[in-house]
Structures are given as C-alpha cells and as structure tokens.
C-alpha cells in the first residue's frame, strides 16, 4: 500500500504547493528582481540598475532612522511582553476569567486598537491626560504622540498591550502541561514559588518562550499599522516614529519608487530571517524530556 500512500500524498499536496509557489514564492522572487530595478509602479518598462537601490538605502536618513527605531523596538517589545505575560500566566494560573479578559485585545483589529489608543493619547480630551489631571498630576500632562522623545514609547506601549493577551494564554496552556507531581515533589522538598518557577516551570515551557521570542521579534520589525494610524505625520513628529514598513510604503506609494521600496522589502526579509536564526541559536537550551 506504500505506493498508494505516496500517490495520495502527492495528489493532496500538489494544489497547496502550487498555490504556495504562486502566491508566496513567486511574489518574493519578483520583489528580489524589482529590488535591482528603477520600476516606478505605473509602467511596464523596467530598467536594471544594479545595486543602486541598496547603496542608496544606507545613506537614506529616513531608512536609517526607521532601522534604529525598529532596533529599539526589537530590544524592548519582546522582553516586555514575555516578562509580563509569564508573570500574568503564573499569577492567574487557575482563573480562566482573567485569561479571557487578557485575550480581549487580540480580538480587535490593529486598526481599531490604533484608533482607540489615539483617543487615549489625545492631548486635551484624552483619557490619559484626564487621568493624570484626576490624580492631580497636571504637570505630567503631555502631547504624548506629538513629542519626538515620547511618541515611539507610546507606540511601543500599545504594541505590548495588544500582544500580551495572546502570550498569557499560550504560556498558561504550556504551564498546564507541566505534570502536577513534579510540582508537588518540589514543594515537598521545600522549594519556594520563585525557585519552582525558575528551576521547573520555565525550563519545561521553554519551547513556548522560544517561539514567542521569534514571533515578537518579527512583530517588532513591523509596527507599520500602528504608526500609520496613530502618529503625527505619520512617522513623526520629526520622524520620531518612522518604522521600516512606513518608509517602504511611502517610497512605493507616495514617491512612486517601487524598485527602491522592493529593495527595502528585501532588506527587511533578510533581517527577519537572520533574527529568527539568531533567536533560535541563542535561546537554545537542553531539552527537558518528560518521562
């Protein structure tokens, strides 16, 4: 029956593989090709210009600012989300209600989240400034999204807020699979809660944390939708919240430089890929086998 199995598998996989090739691989290949051209986006005429687009990118102040900002987000967002999500998952271990509440932001589309938070940050009638006034902290009131030093942090806060719920649920599910007898044994041996978490729970759910790290890293390389909807300019004030996705979008659709935008796309592709490989390398640990 082996033959039949192979034929069945081949038959079942042909369509998905063809679709994957057509809808995923082919556009990627096209983008790679376009990155070496001066395509404007409206002609069928395309000229190869070598690596011009790539050299231009490294002297483009906007792209460099975007790179810096995504770099900062890469440092802050995954760490913040994982730490908070682990804490919440461990702290509300047996209460399903909280988990549902944490998951709420995940149900909203990014556009809605951005609009909601934009209202929260609005200077005169916004919730945040209103709250500060209510606490008699009037001197803390700010034009949150309109100050270059603050705006990116405000965007990152929203990014963290919107991502946490999913990872709480992910980590909580992983924690449930940790056998209760190991926990009991540790407790009998006199281990405190923190020790149990550090020596037992965390190693046993490390796979989930590792996956979280990679996904959050990719999330931190994006941020386009939030910045596009929430910030001044957008991308401002004074390019304070420029992210690579936005630079790419603007190059293509505002400046009519699709070739240049494709080069950015290629750069982001390789950045994400490198990131995933590095994260897997550096977070590799002994795998704990549960007997």
């Amino acid at each position: 029956m082996r033959h039949g199995k192979f034929r069945f598998l081949a038959g079942a996989l042909t369509l998905p593989l063809a679709l994957y090739g057509l809808l995923v691989l082919w556009p990627y290949l096209q983008a790679f090709y376009l990155a070496f051209t001066d395509w404007t986006g409206v002609t069928s005429e395309v000229n190869l210009i070598g690596i011009d687009n790539f050299t231009r990118m490294w002297s483009d102040p906007l792209f460099l600012a975007a790179l810096r900002h995504n770099g900062l987000m890469l440092l802050v967002v995954p760490l913040a989300v994982i730490v908070v999500a682990l804490g919440l998952a461990a702290g509300t271990r047996n209460t399903r209600v909280y988990r549902v509440v944490y998951f709420f932001p995940q149900l909203l589309s990014v556009a809605i989240i951005a609009v909601l938070w934009q209202f929260v940050y609005t200077p005169n009638s916004g919730l945040l400034n209103g709250l500060l006034s209510g606490l008699h902290l009037d001197s803390w009131r700010r034009s949150w999204l309109a100050e270059p030093d603050l705006a990116l942090w405000c965007v990152m806060a929203v990014l963290v807020w919107s991502a946490i719920g999913f990872y709480v649920v992910l980590f909580a599910a992983a924690m449930e699979s940790v056998p209760a007898d190991i926990m009991e044994a540790a407790a009998i041996d006199g281990a405190g809660e923190l020790t149990v978490f550090r020596r037992i729970t965390l190693p046993l759910i490390w796979d989930s944390v590792q996956v979280a790290w990679i996904y959050l890293g990719i999330l931190a390389l994006d941020g386009f939708a939030l910045v596009q909807i929430m910030t001044v300019g957008p991308g401002g004030p004074d390019n304070g919240t420029e992210v690579m996705g936005l630079t790419l979008y603007r190059s293509a659709f505002t400046y009519g430089k699709f070739g240049y935008a494709s080069a950015m796309g290629v750069a982001i592709f390789f950045l994400s890929l490198t990131l995933a490989v590095l994260m897997l390398r550096f977070t590799r640990r002994e795998r704990v086998e549960l007997a």
Binding site: T43, P123, A146, G233, G236, P237, F253, G256
Partner: protein
C-alpha cells in the same frame, strides 16, 4: 494641501466594499472600435458613437454625483454606448495594475489619499495631452473654446512642462477661518497685516479664548499660511524660485520672515496647547465649538464641518494677512489651486470618449450641480452666478474676486513629494518651538538641495 485626505477617514469598511466592487465590475469594453468617429459640429472630438466609456472617479468629500450627471448626459448623447461609472476610494490600488498592463479606463479622477503619484504618471508618459479638448468648442457656447471657460490658472495647474495633461475640477483657496458671529460679539475685525494679527491675538487671549489652533497631526495645514506669507512678501519670483529648486530660495529673507511670523504664534503662546497632537477633525471641532478664534485651512472646510457647525456660527475664510506693509503682492492675494485631477490615460480604449466626457463635465450645467452638492467652487467661470452661496463658500468666492490677478500657487508639493514631507516635518517642529526659524530654513534648504541633486527624481521647471 490635500483636501481629500478625509477620504481616508470616511470609513474603511465602505472603502473596502467599494474597492471590491470596483475591482469586480466589468473592466474594459467588448464592443470596442478604437480611434475616431466622424467629426461634426455636434461631435467636435469625433467620438465613435458605439464605443463604450469607462469612468473611474474618486468618491471622497465631494461625492461623485456630478460625474454621474455627466455620465448620463454622455449616454443621452451617444445612446449606443454604455457608460460604466465607478465611484471608488483607493484609486491608486485599483488602477495601478491597469496602468502597468496598459489597459486603463477612459477617464480617471486621480484624487484622494490613495491616488497615483501624478509626477510618476507624467514621467512615464501615461497621460494623454488634453490640448485637443481645450481647443474644442465648449458645450455651453460653441463660439467659445473650452480653455476660455475655465478660471485663470487652472490649465497651468494641470500642465507639466507646458503640456496640459490634467484638468482639475474644484477650485481650492487657502486662508484663515474665523466665525463672523464670534468676532461681531467681541467687536474684533480680521487683521490686515501680521503685526495686527499678533496684537489681536493678545486681545483674544484676554477674552479667555485661544487665538489659533491647527491640525497638528498633519503639519502641512500650518505650512499653508507660512508659504502664503512668504509668497506675499517675496512675490511670484519667490514662488518660482522655490518650485525651481533654486539654491538658497528657502533661506531668502521673505521665507525666513514668514517662518519667524509663524514661530511668533508659538513663542507668544497664541496656539492652543496640545494642538500639535490633534487630528484635523479634533482641531476643527474645537474651533467650531468656539474655543479658538482662528484655524488655517482650505476652502473645503465648510463642507467638511457641515455636520458639527452650530447654527449662526457663520464661518468665513479670509486671505492670510500681509506679512508686512511693504509686501510685493497686493493686499488680498490668495493661494489658490485646483484639485480633483481629471485625466485621460494615454492608452485609453476610448480616448475621444474620455475627452468628450470631460467636455460635458466642464460645462456650466454640470459644474453648477457640483457647487450645490459638494459645497465647493468649481473651476468653470461663472458657474455659480445666480446661486445663493452659503457663508463659507460666499467668502471664498469673495476672496477669489478680491484677489484678482494676485493668485499664486506652489508646485513643489506635486512635483517633489520628499521635499514636501521635509517642509511638513520642519514646520511641525517650528510650531512646537523645538527649532527656530533659522534652523527651519537650514533644514528645508538642505532637503531642497538633496532633491535637486538626486538624479532619480525627474525635475520640472516653471
């Protein structure tokens, strides 16, 4: 600068729906007899009577009723043709692939936040020269050419290096808005010079109001009064020098003085705190609620604020005051241009039909309907004669009449999008006092020099 950005905010659901519809609707025409039909007095452009017409219109703040009207008039004239009208929002997304494939529609209103970059289309040779249309007899009066029925400056607005490629439909005028009733209540009069403006602002402050607000999320709104002040002081030569990317133009005395004038609003505390973080709706609503005396905006403001303007508010647009009493342009000069860019693609299947559609669209009858439904001034001269205009639109018409020949407009925004962004960023910083006028001029000049030196950006001259 872009009056149609509101299209972006009109509801993504609606946008998605219309885009999908637009994409699904029949594209292209089957009964296609390309080229020209017989030229007669009735049909001066030689439209083949049985060729179908496909029209794609940006449906934003102005709606698309006027274009539907023109379409039905076209259909009445050529009963054998079908008119396929699509009112959509993401014009660029829908049409980009069709321009690439050289199968565009016959008429396009390339407007709104998602429009195709005009400069790119022009450089790629994707747009038909409209000279034939401009020289055709107008629909209202066959003894007059179409070009003689348009307001001054409209053809130039749509010309690239002397070739008329685009015709804009709506006349847009920029100025400073205030409420007539509020001013009457306090006994204030709109100032003639910037010094008077600053004095009046002190008085407004004493009355417990904020003098100015602006649509901080989009710094270009405050740029408009800034470059207007500069043009008034420096005259047409300055406007040309800026657009032609002449070295040092942004550091010229008139330009830096204009930056200083706007800076003074911030320095003297005449701007409502927090304005730099407000969206255009938030700022405009604060103004409509009477918390603020002045807001800079284009002539579309009245239409945009229709739903929230209280009765008896009587909004009025005044030309930006003179910078000094020794300005080069006469008092009352206004920045005006036109928007809603209509074009006929070079590869349109029924190009003659597209031109004929525009001939109908730019007739007095259709333009009048536009003034009534869109509450905006069409570029067809005399189209609003005899109509009773609302407070805002009336003040706009009055400003245009008062300016006479002193109408100016900058081109750098359409020609050089990266420079336009640099100016916006710098002005946003200026209005929050994070940079001073000298730094402002330095930054913008640097951006202009970078555009001038960039060989990948096509240059234009005026």
């Amino acid at each position: 600068m872009n009056p149609t950005r509101r299209g972006l905010l009109l509801g993504t659901a609606a946008a998605a729906a219309t885009t999908a519809l637009g994409a699904c609707a029949t594209s292209g025409s089957d009964a296609d007899s390309a080229g020209k039909g017989a030229v007669t007095a009735e049909n001066p452009l030689g439209v083949p009577a049985d060729a179908n017409l496909e029209v794609v219109i940006f449906k934003g703040g102005y709606g698309d009723a006027y274009a539907v009207d023109a379409g039905s008039k076209y259909k009445a004239k050529f009963p054998k043709a079908t008119v396929d009208h699509k009112g959509i929002q993401g014009v660029g997304e829908v049409l980009q692939p069709r321009f690439v494939a050289d199968s565009p529609p016959d008429v396009v209103d390339n407007s709104g936040a998602g429009r195709l970059d005009l400069a790119t289309l022009v450089t790629a040779g994707k747009i038909k020269d409209l000279t034939e249309l401009l020289d055709a007899p107008s629909l209202d009066d066959p003894s007059k050419k179409v070009r003689d029925t348009l307001m001054p400056g409209v053809i130039e607005d749509g010309s690239f290096d002397g070739k008329p490629l685009v015709l804009n439909y709506s006349s847009v005028v920029w100025g400073v808005w205030y409420s007539k009733s509020l001013f009457a209540k306090h006994g204030w009069t709109f100032p003639k010079t910037w010094d008077e403006m600053l004095t009046l602002n002190d008085e407004i402050k004493k009355a417990g109001l904020h003098a100015w607000t602006w649509q901080g999320k989009y710094p270009e709104y405050l740029n408009d009064p800034l470059v207007s002040l500069a043009a008034k002081a420096g005259g047409f030569e300055l406007v040309k020098a800026i657009d032609n990317l002449e070295p040092g133009a942004w550091k010229s005395p008139a330009m830096t003085a204009a930056a200083e004038a706007i800076y003074q609003l911030a320095v003297r505390g005449h701007i409502m705190p927090g304005s730099e973080g407000l969206s255009h709706t938030e700022a405009q609503n604060a103004w409509c609620k009477g918390q603020v005396a002045f807001i800079p905006c284009g002539s579309w403001l009245e239409g945009e604020q229709q739903a929230v303007t209280p009765a008896g508010f009587d909004m009025v647009m005044a030309p930006v005051p003179s910078l000094t009493s020794a300005d080069k342009l006469a008092d009352g000069a206004v920045m005006a241009t036109s928007s809603e860019s209509f074009l006929v693609p070079a590869k349109a299947k029924n190009a003659q039909g597209g031109l004929e559609f525009l001939r109908i669209l730019f007739s007095k009858q259709v333009a009048r309907g536009f003034a009534e439904s869109a509450k905006s001034l069409p570029v067809v001269a005399g189209a609003t004669d005899g109509l009773t205009l609302s407070s805002g639109l009336g003040s706009v018409a009055q400003a245009v009449a008062g300016a006479g020949a002193n109408v100016f407009s900058y081109k750098f925004r359409t020609w050089y999008a990266p420079l336009s962004k640099a100016v916006d960023d710098a002005t946003g910083e200026l209005a929050t006092k994070r940079i001073n006028p000298a730094q402002w001029a330095e930054r913008v000049q640097k951006a202009a020099d970078a555009v001038a030196a960039d060989s990948s950006i096509a240059k234009h001259k005026r």
